[in-house]
C-alpha cells in the first residue's frame, strides 16, 4: 500500500492538511511514523511534512528557550547553550536515531520511549501549536493528558531556562550506553537559601505518558537536599504513577527501584 506525501512550506498549511484529512499523519524525523508506514498500516493514507524553517529553530536567550518541534536530538547535542539537556538527548537512541529523532516526535512517543518529554515536563514547558487559524499555546502537562485524542500540530516548545545545576536527569536502563528506559527521572530543583523551592519532578516510563511526581514535589518543598531532607519525598516517590509490565521491566520492579534512583538523583551534585 502506498501513501500520499504532502510537503508544505508553512506549518500552518501543514496543520490545515492534518485537520482536514482523516488518514493524515505528520512526519518529522520518521523514527516513529515510518515504522508504522513500513508495516502498511491502512489507517495512514497521507504523510504531511513541512519545510518551514521555524520548525528547526533553536532560540536561546538569558531567560527563555524555544525549540522548534523539528529540532533533532543531534542538534541539541551540538548546542552548547543547551548543555543541561545533553544527558537527555544522548539517552535517545544511538547516533543515527539522534540525527532523526525530534523534540516534537518525542512528545508522542509511547512508553517506555519519551524521556525527552519527561525532561520538558519537569521544565514546565509550554507547547506552541500551529493551527489553520494561527498559533495557540498549551501547557505540556495538559497536552500529555489528551494527546491520543488528537491535537493541532506542535510547532515548538518553550520553557524558562533553569538556573545552573537546578536541572537533573537520570535514565535507568539495562543496556548501556543505549537501552530502553526502565524509567527516567527529570527534576527541576530551584533552591532558595539551600532549601528546595518550587520543585518539579517528572518520570518517564512510569505511566502511559510522562507524568509528574506531585506528591514527591510537595514533600520536597522547603527541604534541603540531604538524606534527611529528601526522605519524605522518597516515601511517596511512586504516588500517582501507573507503570506497566513490558519486556523491559515489570510494573512492580519499576515501583521498587524508583525511590532508589530518585534518591541518587536528588543527592547528586555537579549535574546540570
Amino acid at each position: 500500500m502506498t501513501v500520499t506525501v504532502k510537503t508544505f512550506a508553512r506549518l500552518t498549511d501543514a496543520a490545515g492538511a492534518l485537520s482536514t484529512e482523516r488518514g493524515a499523519r505528520f512526519l518529522a524525523g520518521g523514527t516513529l511514523v515510518m515504522r508504522v508506514v513500513n508495516e502498511a498500516d491502512p489507517t495512514i493514507t497521507t504523510l504531511v511534512r513541512s519545510t518551514d524553517p521555524s520548525f528547526l529553530n533553536v532560540a536561546v536567550s538569558a531567560g527563555r528557550i524555544e525549540l522548534g518541534a523539528g529540532v533533532t536530538m543531534a542538534a541539541i547535542l551540538a548546542e552548547r547553550e543547551l548543555a543541561f539537556l545533553h544527558p537527555v538527548a544522548r539517552g535517545v537512541g544511538g547516533p543515527a536515531v539522534r540525527e532523526a529523532a525530534t523534540v516534537g516526535g518525542n512528545l508522542f512517543a509511547p512508553s517506555p520511549y519519551g524521556d525527552f518529554a519527561a525532561a520538558l515536563l519537569a521544565l514546565d514547558a509550554t507547547l506552541i501549536l500551529a493551527g489553520g487559524h494561527g498559533q495557540r499555546e498549551l501547557p505540556l502537562e495538559e497536552f500529555l493528558g489528551r494527546r491520543d485524542r488528537g491535537v493541532s500540530l506542535v510547532a515548538s516548545v518553550a520553557f524558562r531556562r533553569p538556573a545552573n545545576e537546578a536541572f537533573r536527569f537520570a535514565k535507568v536502563s539495562r543496556v548501556h550506553p543505549k537501552g530502553l528506559s526502565i524509567l527516567s527521572i527529570a527534576a527541576h530543583l530551584p533552591l532558595a537559601s539551600s532549601r528546595v523551592s518550587g520543585a518539579r519532578i517528572a518520570y518517564g516510563a512510569m505511566s502511559r505518558t510522562a507524568v509528574r511526581a506531585k506528591a514527591a514535589e510537595r514533600a520536597l518543598e522547603g527541604r534541603s537536599l540531604d538524606a534527611a531532607g529528601i526522605a519524605p519525598a522518597l516515601a511517596v516517590a511512586a504516588d500517582g504513577t501507573a507503570p506497566v509490565d513490558d519486556a523491559i521491566a515489570s510494573a512492580w520492579w519499576r515501583r521498587e527501584i524508583l525511590p532508589v534512583h530518585l534518591r541518587r538523583l536528588l543527592l547528586a551534585t555537579g549535574q546540570g
Partner: protein, 159 residues
C-alpha cells in the same frame, strides 16, 4: 503513485521512482540496486541499514526516501576505491569483526561517521558510535578493536 527522486549516491547523481511513503532502504536496494545496504528490522532498531546522509548516520529503513532529494548518500558500496579497501574494511577483516556479517554494513557506516568527525576517538567514543547497531555474533569487542585500529592508521586514507 510513484514520485521521482534525485540524489547523490556514493558521489554519483542517481534518480529513481519511489512509491509514496517508500523508505530509503527499499529505494536503494530495489530501485537503484545497491544491495550493500541491508534491511534487518524495518523498525529503526537494529542499525544494519545505517547509511550516511550528508555525512550523518541515518537509519535508511525509517527515512522517507522523498526527504532525501538533493542530498548526498553514502553506503558501503562506496567505501572502497577500485581494488583498495577502506581502512575500516581492512581492519574489520584483520580483527575478524564480521562473523555472520549481517550487521557489518551498518557497523562500517556508523564507524565511518565517527572517524570522519573524530579521527582519534576514544574507546568510549567508539562504543557510543555503534551503540545503535546490534551484533549477535561478535560480542562487539572485535568491532571496537577494528574501529580503533582503523583510527590509528587513519592517516593513510580518509574517504
Amino acid at each position: 503513485m510513484k514520485t521521482p527522486i534525485q540524489f547523490h549516491l556514493n558521489g554519483e547523481d542517481v534518480a529513481a521512482f519511489a512509491d509514496g511513503g517508500a523508505n530509503l532502504l527499499d529505494v536503494l536496494r530495489e530501485a537503484l540496486g545497491d544491495l550493500s545496504v541491508k534491511g534487518g528490522c524495518w523498525q529503526g532498531t537494529c542499525g544494519t541499514c545505517t547509511v550516511l546522509i550528508d555525512g550523518a548516520p541515518r537509519l535508511s529503513c525509517v527515512t522517507l526516501a522523498e526527504s532525501c532529494a538533493g542530498q548526498s548518500i553514502e553506503t558501503v558500496a562506496g567505501l572502497r576505491r577500485g581494488p583498495d579497501l577502506h581502512p575500516l574494511q581492512t581492519a574489520f577483516m584483520e580483527r575478524f569483526a564480521a562473523q555472520c556479517g549481517y550487521c557489518t554494513p551498518g557497523m562500517l557506516m556508523a564507524a565511518k561517521a565517527l572517524l570522519d568527525r573524530n579521527p582519534n576517538p576514544t574507546r568510549e567514543n567508539v562504543v557510543d558510535a555503534i551503540c545503535g547497531n546490534i551484533c549477535r555474533c561478535t560480542g562487539y569487542e572485535p568491532i571496537i578493536a577494528a574501529i580503533l585500529d582503523a583510527a590509528s592508521g587513519a592517516g593513510r586514507r580518509r574517504a
